[in-house]
Symmetry: C2
């Protein structure tokens, strides 16, 4: 098969996939998780049912792919937050603030979805990527003396991600800010008793 032709097929595949997931997102937002059916998706996208079934054998696989795409977008957003912030301590704070905000704004149906797809390996993989990503930021901040070094970075990462998950139980953006501040307090290096206080630690 000529290369240009395989690229065309690949692009078509991506287009079918993206259209399916966009239709899923719109359906869920409008009418909830249970409104997603193979025939509704076929109708909304204009993709023939036979074609749709070639890409996705069932609703579960559509929801899983959609969930994966959402997780990817969130991780990308955190990467952008990191990349547009300067300084190890500031980066860590910006990323953890963004992460808490995501959990705070997480829609109800997303939690239901996570429960429904709980057996999915993709969630475990995404959690590991998130842990690695935040773990690196904490390691860099620790190297810059901006984070305590008496607890390994991997453990501080677990601590942070769990603590910030409380954002999902809060109902006030001010409370989320206080949660981030509280969580970050515990990351600070202990004050050096030999140095005079300089206002900002």
């Amino acid at each position: 098969m000529p290369r240009i032709w395989s690229q065309t097929i690949e692009a078509h595949r991506d287009a079918v996939r993206e259209a399916t997931l966009d239709a899923t997102a719109a359906l869920v937002a409008e009418r909830g998780l249970t409104s997603v059916t193979m025939s509704q998706i076929a109708k909304d996208t204009g993709i023939g049912r036979a074609t749709l079934y070639k890409y996705f054998p069932d609703v579960e696989s559509i929801l899983r792919a959609w969930h994966e795409r959402q997780i990817d977008h969130h991780l990308q957003e955190l990467v952008h937050t990191r990349d547009r912030t300067t300084g190890a301590a500031e980066r860590l704070q910006a990323v953890l603030t963004a992460y808490a905000g995501m959990l705070f704004h997480r829609p109800r149906h997303d939690r239901d979805l996570a429960g429904r797809l709980h057996s999915g390996d993709h969630v475990a993989v995404a959690h590991q990527r998130l842990r690695d990503f935040v773990g690196d930021l904490i390691g860099e901040a620790a190297a810059a003396q901006a984070v305590r070094q008496d607890v390994p970075a991997a453990e501080l990462t677990l601590y942070c991600l769990h603590a910030l998950a409380a954002a999902g139980d809060l109902d006030d953006p001010e409370a989320v800010r206080r949660l981030v501040r509280t969580t970050l307090t515990a990351l600070r290096p202990p004050p050096d008793p030999n140095e005079p206080a300089t206002g900002e630690g």
Copy 2:
């Protein structure tokens, strides 16, 4: 019905119930969640199947009752920990340490069970009881100036319970101790800049 007779019936009911839940605990510990069946429980307890079905319509209801009993025991343990410790700050620390230890030692099947019974109201009720219990301890410690007062006690409670849940992802008791220490750091009142340091804050 004479009172003595109704008391006898009540005691019999409790005995059937306790025997069923004890047998469930033993079965799960030995052979896992899926080994719990109505006939196995009837066999292990010596309770007739017809009687067993009068108390529990299905395996799900047995597992739910067993789960409730476990949660009750854990809450009681935390209450005992509180009651044998003196001082608001010490009490809070002792209870949070005990709680982290429970999450660390939580057996695999208990997580599976929580997933399987996730629709149960009893879990939501137990979470609320736990939040109230820890919230009171944090409020008392804040009143004793041992906990920061710039964040409401209810929010600090959510923070603590979420942060300590990281214990379930750790595989080393030393790491659990570090987690408790880290979590508690964030609860401390900010140091008073007008007072000289006195070693222990």
